[in-house]
Amino acid sequence: MMITQAQQENIKEILWHNLKFRETFDELYDHILTSIERTETDEKLPYEIATDIIKNEFGGWEKLKELETSRQKEIQKHLRKKLWELMKGYFRFPLIMFTLLASGSFYYAADHLPRKVIMLVLFCTVMSPFIMWCRIAPINRWSKKYKASIKENIGERIGTLGFSFFNCFMFIPQLFTDQDSFSVINHLHASVLALVAVIYITHSLSAIRIFQEDLKVSLVS
């Protein structure tokens, strides 16, 4: 069946308003248009065929919402589990050698170097997954043409987690007061700082791997 541009736009608009995520929208729009194009009879209008497909093949709009929710949950669950597994990997042989070396070096540095340098290193560590998220972050989020993406949302959560903790506990307290007592980083014992750094480093490295493997984002072009 031939489908006109106006008919395509009509179907697109209906799907756009009823679906939450870009992934589902793209997939469904293509599925429905392909189905209509391969329909041999002209008894029904494209809009009617699209409604029939949604109702009979997908089980209606409610089922589609469930499909979107379950997809989001599946991906979230898988990526969180993977992130956790990757982090745990840094505390098992052979990667524990790297972790021990990093924590030892950080303990030594925290004890001998100015805390501003330590803060800069921590900042760079938390910034790496954040930069990776920035590469896929939507710039037109408030535009009418923007549709949220499941992977972008998850990327945002993973990429900004370390950065948020860093802001809340280390960076922001110093912004609002000159009192040294509010500067967490200056008062932490070197061992605690080494522990914090190890958590940040393992989280950042695991997050980077998730961005590269699952979200197909690289740190450099």
């Binding site: 793209d26 997939e27 729009y29 599925h31 248009l33 189905s35 089980g59 997809r71």
Partner: protein, 132 residues
Amino acid sequence: MLGEIMHSLVRYIDLLYICVMSTSPLLKGTLQTIILKLLDDNKQMYGYEITQKVKELTIGEIKLTEGALYPALHKLEAEGFLETYNEVVDNRVRKYYRLTHQGGQEVTSKLQEAQLFIEQLQLLLNLNSQTK
């Protein structure tokens, strides 16, 4: 080995045909295996193509509903067995699914699992003598 598995899978499709009175519950348990096998044979496919391929292979006897197909595809993708890539076809985005390395390994294990299940089912229900 693969020939035996394929033979068993074809036999299973036959069994599904015989048990046509309740095709969908039987099909549901092996949906992932069917998807993985199709993608193993065809390298990359999109959702609509999979439904049509199943229809074609079973001569229209098994109809895979989209409501069952897409959750299965998404689950396999989330588990890392499938990966997707987009292509623009006729001014719209088409999402193709293909096996990952992990998915490629999973095909063999799922097919073996299916073969074992079919053999056990045949023994349990004594289907060989009944279908002759």
